[in-house]
Every structure is written in C-alpha cells, then in structure tokens.
C-alpha cells in the first residue's frame, strides 16, 4: 500500500530542528531580538504598522519568528511522519489515532480561546494555535510509542 511517510533518517533531524525552533520561538515570544535576524527579505505582501504597504517587494524585517516557525513545523513533521525503525501497521494506527486525538484537543483549546480570550491577547491564542495541533500530535504519538515499548509480553 502507498505510504505517505518520510524516511526514517529524517527522524533525528526532526528532533534537532524542533528543539532549535522551540528555543528560538520562546526567545522570540518573550521579546528578545538579535541584530543578525534583521535582514532584507522578499515579501509577497507586507503592511507594516509604520510605513507604506508593499506588494512583491524586498523589505527589511526581523525574521527570528519566521525561522522559529518554519523550524518547528518541519521539526514536528519530521519527528512524527518519518518511519520509525520497526514501522508496521499497528504503529500506523497509533499515529493516526494520535493525530485525531491532537486535533480534538487543539479544537477544544481553540474554542475555549475563542470564547474566553478577548483583545490583543487573542493574538497569543492564534500564535499558540498555529503550532499546538502539531505539538500535541508529537507528544501524544511518542507517549504511545513509549507505552508500547514498555508493555511486557505475557510470554511463556
């Protein structure tokens, strides 16, 4: 059967990217910025708070958040969508179940955020929501793998 999974070799790379992305993302979230991230970038559309809007233009921006976001997305995908060493159909089921579970949890938290958080703080809810589903998935899937590896057989 056709598998949409990535090669096993990407798993380790995924963990590294995810870790780097999380650290960078947290630093960015708490307002730290570094000059090396102030660069000229190509943007399809930009409407800065101060200045004029631009379409298909090169602008100057702090890309720390962008780098962190891309790293987290790729990291999360690589860690959980690459084959594990002894990949089989049961693992595939655990993966799909984890994805469903993560989507439920994410939807529940999003609804709570929509109902109870107002004003600028809602931006934080949206920011969190962008990555939460993937992160919940990574955590749940690996927790299930951990539990699976701990099951002692009822062998002779």
């Amino acid at each position: 059967m056709k598998s949409y999974l990535l090669p096993h070799s990407l798993k380790k790379i995924g963990w590294i990217l995810l870790l780097l992305g999380m650290i960078l993302g947290l630093l960015f979230f708490f307002g730290l910025s570094y000059e090396i991230f102030e660069v000229k970038v190509f943007s399809v559309y930009a409407d800065p708070l101060f200045g004029t809007d631009s379409v298909f233009d090169v602008i100057e921006d702090d890309i720390m958040g962008e780098i962190a976001g891309v790293l987290v997305v790729f990291g999360a995908m690589f860690t959980s969508f690459s084959k594990i060493r002894n990949e089989d159909e049961y693992i595939a089921k655990l993966r799909v179940d984890s994805l469903v579970w993560a989507t439920y949890l994410n939807a529940a938290l999003l609804v709570l955020g929509l109902i109870f958080v107002y004003g600028m703080s809602f931006l934080a809810v949206m920011l969190f929501n962008m990555f939460a589903a993937l992160l919940f998935f990574v955590i749940r899937f690996h927790f299930m793998l951990f539990k699976l590896n701990k099951t002692i057989s009822d062998e002779e």
Binding site: E89, Y90, I91, T151
Partner: protein
C-alpha cells in the same frame, strides 16, 4: 474478535518475537493482536495463517461485540 495465535504459537513452539520476525511486524504488534487490543489488517491475518499453516477462519473468530 477472538484469536488462537497463542495456541498456534505453542504448537510451533515459537515466541512472539520469532513470529513477529516471520511476518515482518514488531513484537509489540503481535502482543496487541494476541490480547485482542488491535484488529489487524487482512494482509497480516493471511500472513499469520500461512505461518501456522491454517486458514484465517481457524485463527480468528468473530465475537458478539464485533
């Protein structure tokens, strides 16, 4: 779904790990199937039946709750 994997394994005198190797899955998967925690695919059912030289129907049986 009930299964006779454990009985058939005993007849052949092979461990879960050995059976897992023969059908190309992990030991944990065989364990989950034996315990009735996982409804396996048709392909895997056929492979297991082949190892034990029985039919799928002899290896698995529907239960009331299925």
């Amino acid at each position: 779904m009930r299964n006779n994997i454990k009985v058939e394994r005993a007849k052949l005198n092979i461990t879960q790990a050995e059976l897992a190797k023969r059908v190309g899955v992990s030991r944990q998967t065989i364990n989950a199937i034996e315990l009735g925690k996982y409804n396996l695919s048709t392909v895997l059912a056929l492979k297991l039946a082949k190892v034990f030289d029985v039919t799928v129907n002899e290896l698995f049986e529907l239960e009331g709750r299925d």
